[in-house]
């Protein structure tokens, strides 16, 4: 079985090999190993890029294969981040509070501990009540489950409603955009119980590993992100091979025809939508401990549009295209806006790339859409001549 799977999908082997080599290379060159050719901040950036690549392949599956242009997948990404962030924040604060309270003359009552934690976490945003949302924040297991369950459930309910009413095409895009807008507006409220605009911060400090250096934590997260990306890649390749894949691609190309052939189009769409939402949630849960902070601006509608941009530039309908797109655009973007590119002197005007990068990206994006609909991934077709 494994042999046939790989021989059917040689790109998977290539991808896993490159990803594995890259992971080992980064780990060896990092500060954690002592060589330190790659700085910790670079390792964090690369680890985050892998998470973005993971949500990008999810986006590619839902858009490039199934034809649903979802402009809301970053909402699931953010929910994953919030779910893990709540535990991280609670556990970190709890250890600080118990350490402080245990040094006092009389032991604290449970109420005092809860009050102190609540005050520490929510005092910043002007309240000290523990919201209902945080009822399970002491349990890592439950929160790991929430990383998977909440995006999955939300996608299931939303998708069931939308697909059942046959909302398709552009309407569906706008509906998904409205969903992420509603979620970010909700989170922006201070009363939401998730610290409003401030979001959850200090997530890079992992409770229980207070003594570990950020250098080793960052490499660990990098490796886990690489593993998740590899697994996600294999999972989606499996899902999209065989009959399932053919039906899904059929839906993309002509939904009505597939429906007339007797397939329950809605169920297939719902399955893909929910599965990709879960993967997006996992990607988010790995991303935000590396970023250190999550807040509602992360899931504003623009983020999901950028996600579509990455996939389009990388090349739709091929998983490695999405990975390339996400990595290429996000790294290039941080290179340009970070001032790494020397200013271009035109004689009469000097182009500072911090100012002009977005203009360049926008124009490049229009050009890709117009002239290279297959994206960067399309270049591989010229390298590898396929028999078909």
């Amino acid at each position: 079985m494994r042999k046939t799977f790989i021989s059917q999908h040689p790109s998977v082997l290539w991808f896993l090999a490159i990803l594995g080599l890259f992971t080992v290379f980064v780990a060896v060159m990092s500060e954690a190993s002592g060589i330190g050719l790659i700085s910790t901040s670079m390792v964090k950036t690369l680890g985050k890029t892998l998470c973005l690549a993971l949500i990008a392949i999810a986006m590619d599956v839902v858009w490039g294969y199934c034809g649903i242009l979802s402009l809301g997948h970053f909402a699931f990404f953010g929910i994953g981040g919030y779910a893990i962030g709540m535990w991280l924040m609670y556990a970190r604060t709890e250890s600080i509070i118990t350490a402080n309270l245990s040094s006092q003359v009389i032991p604290p009552t449970p109420q005092e501990v809860t009050d102190a934690i609540g005050n520490q976490i929510f005092g910043v945003v002007g309240s000290s009540e523990f919201p209902m949302l945080w009822a399970f924040s002491h349990s890592l297991t439950l929160h790991l489950l929430m990383v998977v369950l909440i995006p999955g459930l939300l996608a299931l309910i939303f998708g069931w409603l939308a697909f059942r009413s046959r909302v398709t095409g552009v309407y569906l895009s706008i509906l998904t955009q409205a969903m992420t807008l509603a979620l970010s507006l909700y989170l922006f409220q201070n009363d939401s119980g998730l610290r409003g605009n401030n979001g959850l911060s200090g997530l890079q400090n992992i409770p229980g590993y207070e003594d570990a250096s950020q250098a080793s934590i960052s490499v660990a997260f990098f490796a886990v992100s690489a593993l998740a990306l590899g697994l996600g890649y294999v999972l989606f390749t499996l899902v999209l091979s065989g009959k399932m894949g053919s039906v899904v691609k059929g839906i993309r190309d002509n939904e009505a025809r597939v429906r007339f052939l007797g397939y329950k189009v809605e169920n297939y769409k719902l399955f893909i939508f929910t599965l990709t939402a879960i993967i997006a949630g996992i990607a988010g849960a790995l991303y935000y401990p590396q970023a250190g902070i999550i807040n509602p601006a992360e899931i504003a509608p623009i983020a999901s549009i950028y996600l579509a941009v990455w996939v389009a530039i990388g090349g739709r309908g091929r998983l490695y295209g999405a990975v390339i797109g996400a990595a290429f655009v996000s790294l290039l973007s941080s290179w340009f806006t970070g001032g790494g590119v020397p200013p271009l002197n035109l004689g009469f005007y000097t182009i500072l790339w911090t100012d002009w990068w977005l203009v360049l990206l926008g124009v490049a994006f229009v050009c890709v859409t117009l002239f290279f609909p297959k994206g960067i991934g399309g270049l591989f077709d010229y390298l590898v001549r396929k028999p078909s």
């Binding site: 009389i106 032991p107 909302v167 095409g169 552009v170 706008i174 509603a182 409220q189 549009i305 990206l361």
Partner: protein
């Protein structure tokens, strides 16, 4: 109107001369000022009246001018000798005017300090000036005086105000004076019957001032007394029931404050007492290690209390009993029940009117919001509806229009003229941009609607950043002409700014214009033909390319005009487009694609809905927006094609 005049007659006799001039020898204004120099140089609202009284009592004719100059920050202090002058600054020089003699001189500014009385002091000065200004020949001064009375009504003003009514030549001001006299009578008249009469006359007046007068009369303070059969004494507003009208914590706190009960021991105080009484690892016999529960802490505390070390613990039952034994109530500060009853009746009758007026006001606000959404979305509705093209750069066309207005105001300083120029120019600029975009990009993507969404998004971020590079990140002013300043005021409750009315009218005009173009012109006929069946239209000799181009240009041009309108009432920044793009999409989708009426319905629904939700939850606008988006999501589930569904190219995706 009869009653106020009655008061006028009644009080005419009371109106005594405002002040009796004191004739002192060689009394100059400067000497009085020097005597009160502390309060003149650094006046405080609460204490400045001593200086003002001294000034007014002097009876000097210069006092009025001095007070006016002082109020307008026109008085300067020479720091080395502490003398005061009128002065006006001109560059580095001052033109000094002697306070008493009026002699002028020009000196350098160094060594002089401008006196800047704060807003509170200026208001007190204004009150002091009232008596001089009420019958001044200058209308503006009289108006200032009347305004000042309205801001700080005092009992002593009633007489002078009534005295000035008869001689008032200006009809509007006279009416205002009578109204004010009425307010003052309601609060300050000596005879209760007069007050009640004045109060009753207010029962139809929805102005905030009238309600303020009544509410002041009905001012009540909470109080507590031991429960007796007769009930509490005094003019009681209402009794408060602990548990429903006020929480039992508050009730008990009130008891403690009134000295009827002993303060409850808070958990913090309990902890404090325990911590400071640890003896050999135990508190009241309880080992400290066991003090991690509230029950054990209370036990330890009770033990301490029994030893008399700490005050006794107040149990919940004791608190309940104490609350039970007392009656909580609110008492009017006005002693006469007849007056408070009259005021209450008048206020109730006003409140009914106010509630009705508020509904009208809310409707106006909602209409205004709807018209803004409509303007922002109508251009999009045309391109989206007719061509099935999602234009993510629509918001940036709005921004381009607003910046066009800004640039034109840089060159044409007259605001009226500049807006008149800006509207067509903004249309032309965005029309051009729209046509260019259609020719260069969208034309190639007609068979791939989802990709137009992405390509136009690319254009959108590029345009946004370009605007930032050209105009900077600061918000730019787009100022409306003076005749659009201010608001249309029906009453204190119902008012709406002229600029919003202008936007509303503009939205109506565009609605009419677009309907006219679509229904009555050749272009409109062709557009509708292409919408319904492009292939058939083309075979009838219509050039779909040209129609698409014109439609797109029209939609974009309208966005430009909307930009000017939105810039006038809000702000002009490079990011203003993003504020409207999602809203506009929702307006179009909710309304139903490809139909002007649909967009109108969508905009109205969203506008009214948003205002409605805000009304339920006025302290959190963000929550209102969240609920609205959620509602829209649900709405689309049940009416996927919007309020006004349409058949045709767009409807078939």
């Amino acid at each position: 109107m009869l009653r106020p005049i009655l008061f006028l007659v009644l009080f005419f006799g009371l109106a005594a001369p405002a002040y009796a001039p004191v004739h002192a020898q060689e009394l100059t204004l400067q000497t009085i000022l020097q005597e009160n120099s502390d309060e003149i140089t650094k006046p405080k609202r609460r204490t400045v009246s001593t200086a003002l009284d001294a000034l007014v009592a002097s009876g000097l004719p210069q006092v009025t001018q001095f007070l006016e100059q002082w109020q307008d920050k026109g008085v300067w202090l020479r720091e080395d000798d502490g003398l005061y002058f009128y002065a006006s600054a001109d560059g580095g020089d001052l033109t000094l005017t002697d306070i008493d003699t009026g002699a002028e001189s020009t000196v350098p500014k160094d060594g002089f300090k401008q006196l800047k009385p704060n807003g509170g002091v200026r208001r007190v000065i204004a009150t002091a000036l009232v008596q001089f200004q009420l019958s001044d020949p200058d209308l503006a001064r009289r108006e200032t005086a009347v305004q000042s009375i309205a801001r700080r009504p005092e009992a002593s003003q009633l007489g002078p105000l009534l005295a000035s009514v008869d001689g008032e030549p200006d009809a509007a001001l006279k009416a205002r004076k009578i109204q004010l006299a009425n307010f003052l009578s309601a609060s300050f008249a000596e005879d209760p019957a007069d007050r009640i009469a004045a109060i009753e006359s207010l029962s139809t007046d929805t102005s905030i001032e009238a309600r303020a007068v009544l509410n002041q009369i009905l001012n009540a303070k909470p109080d507590v007394a031991p429960r007796t059969d007769a009930g509490p004494e005094g003019n009681i507003a209402r009794e408060l029931k602990p548990g429903s009208d006020l929480s039992s914590e508050d009730a008990y706190a009130q008891l403690v404050e009134a000295g009827f009960a002993q303060a409850a021991i808070t958990p913090a105080a309990l902890r404090e007492a325990i911590v400071s009484n640890v003896v050999e690892g135990k508190v009241g016999g309880v080992p400290t290690a066991q003090l991690n529960s509230q029950d054990n802490r209370v036990k330890a505390y009770t033990a301490l209390a029994e030893d008399g070390i700490v005050p006794p613990f107040v149990t919940a039952e004791e608190r309940e009993a104490a609350i039970e034994a007392h009656v909580f109530f609110e008492e009017y500060s006005e002693k006469d029940p007849a007056i408070t009853t009259a005021a209450l009746d008048a206020l109730n009758s006003i409140e009914t009117r106010v509630a009705a007026a508020q509904t009208v006001d809310l409707t106006l606000d909602a209409l205004s919001l709807a018209s803004i959404y409509f303007l922002a979305a109508i251009g999009l509705a045309i391109t989206f509806g007719v061509m099935g093209v999602i234009n993510m750069a629509h918001g940036e066309f709005i921004m381009m229009g607003a910046y066009t207005g800004y640039v034109i105001q840089l060159f044409v300083p007259d605001y009226t003229l500049s807006i008149l120029i800006a509207l067509p120019v903004a249309f032309a600029v965005t029309f051009g941009a729209g046509v260019a975009m259609e020719r260069l990009v969208i034309r190639h993507l007609y068979h791939r609607p989802l990709e137009t969404l992405l390509a136009t998004f690319g254009i959108s971020i590029a345009l946004q950043q370009l605007a930032k590079n050209i105009f900077g990140t600061q918000a730019r002013p787009l100022t409306s002409p003076a005749w659009l300043d201010g608001a249309w005021v029906v009453s204190d409750v119902i008012q709406i700014s002229y600029i919003r009315i202008a936007i509303f009218v503009m939205a109506l005009m565009f609605l009419a214009l677009i309907l006219f173009v679509l229904k009555r012109t050749r272009l409109g006929l062709e557009v509708r033909a292409v919408t319904q069946n492009p292939g058939m239209a083309a075979s009838m000799g219509i050039n779909p390319d040209r129609i698409n181009m014109m439609t797109f240009g029209l939609g974009s041009g309208i966005a430009g005009i909307a930009g000017v309108a939105i810039g006038l009432y809000a702000k002009v920044t490079s990011e203003m487009g993003t504020d409207y793009i999602v809203q506009s999409f929702m307006t179009v989708v909710v309304g139903g694609v490809g139909n002007v009426w649909g967009t109108l319905a969508g905009a109205s629904m969203i506008g009214f809905l948003q205002k409605g939700i805000e009304w339920f939850n006025p302290s959190n606008t963000l929550a209102a927006q969240t609920y609205m988006v959620l509602f829209i999501i649900l709405f689309i589930q049940f009416r996927p094609k919007g309020i006004v569904a349409l058949k045709g190219r767009a409807a078939a995706d």
